[in-house]
C-alpha cells in the first residue's frame, strides 16, 4: 500500500480533534436551539401566571374533556393499529405473494401524505356530500365530526408505526420457530401466543409507544374531522389552539406542557426499553 493511500486512510478514520469538537458543538447547539429551548419555553410560558393558574387550566372542564377524548382516541387508534400492524407484518414476513413490495409502499403512504389531506379524505368519503354521506345520514350514523372520525383520521396518520417496527423484525426471525411449534402439535393460536408474540414483544412495544405518542399529538388530520365542539370533540392539541386563539396563553401552554411531558415519558420508556432489552432488540434485528 502506498504512503498516500495510508495517509488518506488515516485522515478518514481519525479527524483532527478540532474538527471532532466542532462537529459535536454544532450538533449540540442545533439540538439546544431546536429542541431544548422550545421545550423549556413551553414550561416557562405554562407557569407564567403561577402554579395555581397552571393547575386551574388543567382542571378546567373543557381541558379535562379534551384530555379524556385524546386518551379515548389514542386508545382505539393504537388498538386498531396494533392489530393491523401485527397482521401486516405477519403477512409480509411469513408469506410470499405478488405485490408484496407494493403493500409495503402502501403502508408507508401516511408518512408522505400531509395530515390535512388525511382528514379531508374522510370528509370526502363520509361527509354529508361525500360518497357514503347519504347512506350514513339516512341511517343516522355519525362518522366525521364525531369520535369515529377522530379515530379514523388518527389511525390513518399513525398506521405505519407498529407495522414498520415489526416487518424487519419478523422478516429477520423467519418462520423456523413457528414451524417447530406446529410440528410439535401447537394450534395456530398457541403458536401465536407462545412463540410469535414473545419473540416480537419488545419491538411491538416500541412501535406502540411511538404510535401512541403520535396519536395523542396529532393536530392536522383531527382538526379537519373534528367539529371543534368544546368539551365534546376537541382533543388536546385542538384545545391548545382554542386557548391560544382566546389569548389564554398560560392555559394554552399548560395543556401543551402535558403533551410535552408525554414526549418525555415516551422518550424515557424508549430509552429504558433500549437499555434493558437493547441486546434482544438488536438480536432480533438481523443478527440471527
Amino acid at each position: 500500500m502506498s504512503a498516500a493511500a495510508l495517509r488518506t486512510q488515516r485522515s478518514v478514520t481519525s479527524e483532527p480533534a478540532i474538527v471532532r469538537w466542532l462537529l459535536i458543538a454544532i450538533v449540540l447547539a442545533f439540538l439546544a436551539v431546536f429542541l431544548l429551548l422550545p421545550f423549556i419555553a413551553v414550561f416557562v410560558q405554562a407557569f407564567a401566571s403561577g402554579a395555581k393558574a397552571y393547575f386551574a387550566a388543567l382542571h378546567d372542564a373543557d381541558a379535562l374533556a379534551a384530555i379524556k377524548l385524546t386518551l379515548i382516541t389514542a386508545f382505539f387508534a393504537v388498538l386498531l393499529n396494533t392489530v393491523f400492524g401485527i397482521a401486516a407484518a405477519w403477512a409480509i414476513a411469513k408469506f410470499e405473494f405478488r405485490g408484496k413490495n407494493f403493500l409495503i409502499t402502501l403502508i408507508d403512504l401516511p408518512f408522505s401524505v400531509s395530515p390535512v389531506i388525511a382528514g379531508l379524505v374522510f370528509i370526502l368519503l363520509f361527509g354529508s356530500r361525500g360518497w357514503f354521506g347519504g347512506w350514513l345520514s339516512e341511517h343516522d350514523v355519525k362518522i366525521v365530526f364525531a369520535l369515529p372520525g377522530l379515530v379514523l383520521a388518527t389511525v390513518f396518520v399513525t398506521f405505519p408505526f407498529v407495522a414498520r417496527e415489526l416487518i424487519p423484525l419478523m422478516q429477520a426471525q423467519g418462520s423456523d420457530e413457528e414451524y417447530a411449534a406446529l410440528t410439535l402439535g401447537a394450534s395456530g393460536w398457541q403458536m401465536f401466543w407462545r412463540v410469535t408474540l414473545p419473540n416480537i414483544r419488545w419491538g411491538l412495544l416500541y412501535g406502540i409507544l411511538l404510535c401512541n405518542a403520535r396519536a395523542m399529538g396529532e393536530f392536522g388530520a383531527v382538526s379537519v374531522v373534528s367539529g371543534h365542539i368544546r368539551g365534546v370533540s376537541n382533543t388536546m392539541p385542538l384545545h391548545v389552539e382554542v386557548l391560544y386563539n382566546d389569548y389564554k396563553f398560560a392555559a394554552a401552554f399548560a395543556v401543551a406542557s402535558l403533551l410535552a411531558l408525554l414526549a418525555f415519558v415516551t422518550l424515557g420508556l424508549k430509552t429504558l426499553l433500549e437499555w434493558r432489552h437493547g441486546d434482544e432488540l438488536a438480536a432480533l434485528r438481523g443478527h440471527r
Binding site: I123, V144, L205, I208, I229, R230, D246
Partner: protein, 349 residues
C-alpha cells in the same frame, strides 16, 4: 400462559405494558361520563365569539329553565367562519349558526340546509349585533392615522388579514374601496389606485383576524391594525390601554353578525322550537347588554342608548346597498381574477 410466565419471570408482556400506558389513564378519567343528556343545541359559531357565548349561553339556559322548567345544554363549536360553514355543509349537526358574515350562512343555504330567505326570519337582517371596521394604533397615534387617506401615505405600515380568507379583511378592503369612491373628484379608476397604495403598505397578509392581531399587538409589526371595533376593544383591554388606542375613520362599513336556525338539522332533531327561542333570546335586553359590554353594537335602541358613550357615532355604509350584495362583491373583488388579485399582482414586492 402459566408455563410461560413461570419460564420467564419478571418479564411483562407487551399487551399488559400497553394497557398500563394507554388504558389505565383512560379508565382513571372515564368516571362520570356519558350520563343521559338533556335537550341540547349545537351552536356553530365563528372564531372570536367564544367569550361572548361563555356568557350568553348560561343566561339563556337560566331563562329557559325559569320559563319551561327544562334544562338545556348548549354546545359551542368555534373556528374560522368559512371553515365552520363548510363543516356544517359536510354534516356537522348544527342547530343554529351564529356567524360574522352573511356569506357563510348563504353558503349553508345554498347547500339546502336552511331557507334562502333566512335573513328575513329575525329582525335587523337576522343580525342581533354588528360592528364596524376601525383602526387600532399605537398609543398617542404617533403617525396621526385618523382616516383611510392617511393609511396610504408612504412609510405607513398597515396590518390587515387576507381578504380572500377572512371576513375582517374583506370588510376592510371594501371600506377602503367605498372611501376612495366617495372622495370628491374620484373617477372610476380611483378606488383601484387607492387599494394599490393601501396594499403596498401592508407588510404581512395574515390568514385570519386573530393572526393579524397577534402580528400587530404581540410581534409589534405595523402602525395600524384594521379590524372590527369589537376585536379592537379586546386588543386594548388585553394588551393595555397604555399601549394601544382606537381611531375612528370618517367612513366605515357595517359588519353584521347574522344568525340562523339550520332548519334541516333542527327539524330532524326536533329542536326547532328551542333553536328559535335561543336566537330570539339574542334580541332580548339581557343578551343585548352582553353584546354591548363585549364591544359589539346592538340593535335594541334602549341598550344602544345606555352604551352610547362607548360607541362613537360613525358614518357607515352597508355592503348590500353599496356593492349590490355580497355575492356580487365577492365575484368582483375577491374571486380569482377579481380586483384584489389585480392589486396584489401589481404590488408584488
Amino acid at each position: 400462559m402459566h408455563e410461560r410466565a413461570a419460564n420467564r419471570p419478571n418479564k411483562w408482556n407487551p399487551l399488559r405494558a400497553w394497557l398500563a400506558i394507554v388504558a389505565l389513564p383512560l379508565v382513571a378519567c372515564a368516571g362520570g361520563s356519558s350520563s343521559a343528556r338533556a335537550a341540547s343545541l349545537l351552536n356553530v359559531s365563528y372564531d372570536v365569539a367564544r367569550g361572548l357565548y361563555e356568557e350568553l349561553n348560561p343566561a339563556f339556559v337560566e331563562e329557559w329553565k325559569r320559563k319551561t322548567g327544562e334544562t338545556v345544554d348548549i354546545d359551542q363549536s368555534h373556528g374560522g367562519s368559512t371553515k365552520q360553514a363548510h363543516a356544517v355543509i359536510e354534516g356537522l349537526p348544527a342547530d343554529v349558526v351564529t356567524m360574522n358574515s352573511p356569506l357563510d350562512i348563504d353558503a349553508i343555504a345554498d347547500a339546502g340546509l336552511l331557507p334562502n330567505d333566512w335573513a328575513t326570519h329575525f329582525p335587523a337582517a337576522a343580525s342581533p349585533s354588528w360592528s364596524v371596521i376601525v383602526f387600532v394604533v399605537r398609543k398617542g397615534n404617533p403617525k396621526a392615522l385618523r382616516d383611510w387617506s392617511e393609511l396610504v401615505k408612504p412609510g405607513v405600515q398597515v396590518i390587515l388579514p387576507n381578504p380572500k380568507t377572512s371576513g375582517n379583511g374583506r370588510y376592510s378592503y371594501l371600506a377602503a374601496w367605498q372611501f376612495a369612491r366617495m372622495q370628491p373628484g374620484a373617477d372610476a379608476a380611483a378606488p383601484l389606485a387607492f387599494e394599490k397604495k393601501l396594499l403596498a403598505n401592508v407588510p404581512i397578509l395574515d390568514i385570519g383576524g386573530r393572526d393579524a392581531t397577534t402580528t400587530f399587538a404581540q410581534r409589534g409589526i405595523g402602525d395600524a391594525l384594521l379590524t372590527f371595533e369589537s376585536e379592537a376593544k379586546v386588543v386594548v383591554a388585553t394588551f393595555g390601554a397604555d399601549k394601544f388606542e382606537i381611531a375612528y375613520p370618517s367612513l366605515s362599513v357595517r359588519a353584521n353578525n347574522p344568525v340562523a336556525v339550520v332548519a334541516k338539522n333542527a327539524d330532524r332533531k326536533g329542536s326547532a322550537q328551542l333553536a328559535q327561542a335561543y336566537l330570539q333570546f339574542h334580541y332580548g335586553k339581557v343578551a343585548q347588554e352582553i353584546f354591548a359590554r363585549r364591544g359589539m353594537r346592538v340593535v335594541d335602541a334602549g341598550v344602544a342608548a345606555a352604551h352610547a358613550a362607548e360607541f362613537p357615532l360613525i358614518r357607515t355604509f352597508v355592503v348590500d346597498a353599496a356593492f349590490g350584495g355580497w355575492a356580487k362583491a365577492q365575484a368582483e373583488h375577491f374571486a380569482t381574477g377579481g380586483t384584489f388579485d389585480k392589486v396584489t399582482a401589481e404590488v408584488k414586492r
